[in-house]
């Protein structure tokens, strides 16, 4: 499995991430929250080996992530980043099949299994019938689901998701996170999700990491971390926390200053 051991990441003389350790557990969703510039996305990119830590180590099954070929990393870790750059017309199916690259080789063509997996994840992300559509003709929400579908098509066992629900409406936000949770439970995968949506995080997270200025402020279950004190201190804003009437997950309500 994937592990970050006491990593520090510097950009010039600015420290983006300081002494962070993270061990995503199989079957669990870990949510990373924190204000803008807290180092959440940088941490996520480091977990994938895209950013080299100045100190500390990222290991995959006990070995440094940098000792693997990119293809081998991509077979184990899938990333959902911000939107893709779509300057050429490509279909939704072609886009999702990109997720099979690490499995079916650099040279050659997709197998029947690749096609079947792509069709399945399109169904799961409610994009059935979109195979022929062009990516740049989709709405923001549809495109984001296609990005998630491509990540699921990798059949990796670690999922790193950067704001996977940013463009989605309320119902689709829940659908997407439920899908990630199901995948985690059934396939014993681990997911690390960066999000600004604290309530959605509270509902779906098994563990929460709260970051500020690149440092871990707190880590634990949603109930342990999502407290008025901690959140108020980190976000510099008064928040009320009560329990969701149905699920009893922490429910966060910001109190906006007047004027």
């Amino acid at each position: 499995m994937l592990e970050a051991k006491d990593i520090t990441i510097n950009y010039g003389d600015r420290t983006a991430v300081a002494n962070v350790s993270l061990l995503p557990q199989a079957g669990e969703i870990t949510i990373i929250i924190g204000p803008n510039g807290a180092g959440k996305s940088t941490l996520l990119r480091a977990l994938n080996g895209s950013v080299t830590p100045s100190r500390g180590e990222i290991t995959l099954d006990g070995r440094s992530i940098f000792s693997y070929a990119r293809r081998a990393v991509a077979r184990r870790i899938a990333v959902v980043a911000q939107e893709a750059d779509l300057r050429f017309p490509i279909t939704v199916m072609e886009f999702v099949l990109g997720g099979r690259y690490a499995l079916s080789g650099a040279w050659g063509w997709e197998s029947e299994k690749d096609i079947a997996v792509a069709r399945r994840v399109l169904r799961e992300t409610e994009l059935e019938g979109f195979e022929h559509r062009l990516m740049n003709e989709l709405s923001g929400g549809e495109r984001q689901r296609a990005v998630l579908a491509r990540a699921l098509a990798t059949e990796a066992n670690v999922y790193l998701l950067d704001e996977p629900t940013a463009n989605l409406d309320l119902a689709h936000q829940a659908t997407m996170l439920r899908l990630i949770r199901q995948r985690c439970k059934s396939e014993k995968c681990a997911a690390v999700v960066v999000t600004h949506d604290l309530n959605l995080g509270a509902e779906f997270a098994d563990r929460v990491m709260l970051l500020k200025d690149g440092r871990v402020q707190s880590t634990g279950t949603p109930r342990e971390v999502l407290t008025p004190d901690l959140l108020g201190k980190v976000f510099n804003l008064e928040v009320l926390v009560d329990a969701h009437p149905r699920t009893s997950a922490p429910r966060i309500t910001p109190v906006y200053p007047e004027g």
Partner: protein, 339 residues
């Protein structure tokens, strides 16, 4: 935007084979028909007969000489040049994520031209030095444009074209400088050559162009799947398992080889790398496993047709083939830029 409403959801190996097979057939037909055109028309059936290797086809010895000594080598060269430039264009476009990237507009052709001219001036007797220095020039120009275009936020399409303009104008002055070192009688033929001239080939340059086309296109096709993902951004491609820096370097070198070989044998034929990949994508989608080989074959057809026009419209005089390709390419460039 695609003209074909019933587009395929994805490209299969069968579809690629079918498209490339049909294009190859088209190339063959173009080859035969082009061989009959010129300042002297040859009868189609007799030319076809002679091209298949038969001896008594009813062509006069003079016609026989026109066909085999002048037309066939020239059409072969046009085919090789078209193949090189269209495949290189498709490669640059995928790699730089820019539908406007094209060897001529990026200044890569001028880099190769400077290399070729340097070879002519300094190693005039060694023919092999021309493609070699052309390749070096193309490679150097490619890296300079790439470095210039890459800002902090990555290379925007406009920035890339501006970098291409800067490199092109700089290299143009280098070309002018080298031209002044030549004697006056050669200058006119060089001006012609700079615009793309297929008339002055030799067997060895023709073979080099073909070998380079074969190697370059093969290398690009091998990297086509990686390029498919790199078209969506290098970060995405890296996440999905592409060895981004290796693919980038390989494609740069292969594309420069293609441009170098083409320029060394025929000068700078512009816009082929823009027009042909664009039409191929419009008709068959963006999958580089199909686009690269199909663009190579369609590029051969395009340059053969353009050159046939160039040597017939004002026959017995000839136009440089680059003038014809630019006439078609420049309006398309404007259209793509405005889109």
């Amino acid at each position: 935007m695609r003209m074909n409403p019933a587009r395929e959801a994805y490209t299969t190996v069968q579809r690629t084979a079918l498209v490339c097979g049909l294009l190859l057939l088209g190339l063959l037909v173009t080859f035969v028909i082009a061989s009959t055109f010129g300042s002297q028309r040859l009868p189609l059936s007799a030319s076809l007969c002679a091209l298949t290797g038969k001896s008594d086809c009813g062509l006069s010895p003079e016609q026989q000489a026109i066909l085999f000594d002048l037309r066939v080598p020239r059409i072969l060269l046009a085919g090789a040049v078209g193949m090189c430039l269209a495949a290189a264009g498709a490669g640059y476009q995928a790699l730089l994520r820019n539908p406007l990237a094209e060897p001529y507009l990026l200044g890569v052709s001028n880099g190769a031209a400077v290399g070729t001219m340097a070879a002519l001036v300094f190693f005039g007797t060694h023919e092999w030095s021309r493609p070699l220095l052309a390749f070096a020039g193309a490679l150097a120009a490619t890296f300079v444009v790439y470095r210039l275009a890459r800002g902090h936020t990555g290379a925007s399409p406009e920035r890339l074209i501006l970098a291409g303009v800067i490199v092109t104008t700089f290299l143009s002055s280098a070309i002018v400088f080298i031209t002044t070192l030549m004697d006056a009688t050669r200058i006119r033929s060089f001006t012609f050559w700079l615009l793309g001239d297929l008339s002055g080939t030799t067997t060895s340059l023709l073979s080099i162009a073909f070998i380079a086309a074969a190697i370059g296109v093969a290398v690009l096709v091998i990297n086509a799947r990686g390029l498919n993902l790199m078209m969506l951004g290098e970060r995405d491609a890296f996440d999905l398992g592409v060895e981004v820096s290796r693919v980038r370097l390989t494609v740069f070198v292969a594309a420069s080889l293609l441009v170098g070989a083409s320029v060394a044998s025929s000068g700078s034929v512009g816009y082929v790398g823009l027009v042909v990949p664009h039409l191929v994508r419009l008709s068959f989608g963006s999958d580089n496993r199909l686009v690269l080989p199909a663009a190579a074959i369609a590029g051969a057809i395009f340059v053969i047709v353009a050159d046939t026009v160039a040597r017939t419209v004002i026959a017995p005089r000839e136009l440089p083939v680059g003038a014809i390709t630019a006439l078609i390419g420049a309006p398309l460039f404007i259209y793509l830029l405005k889109r």
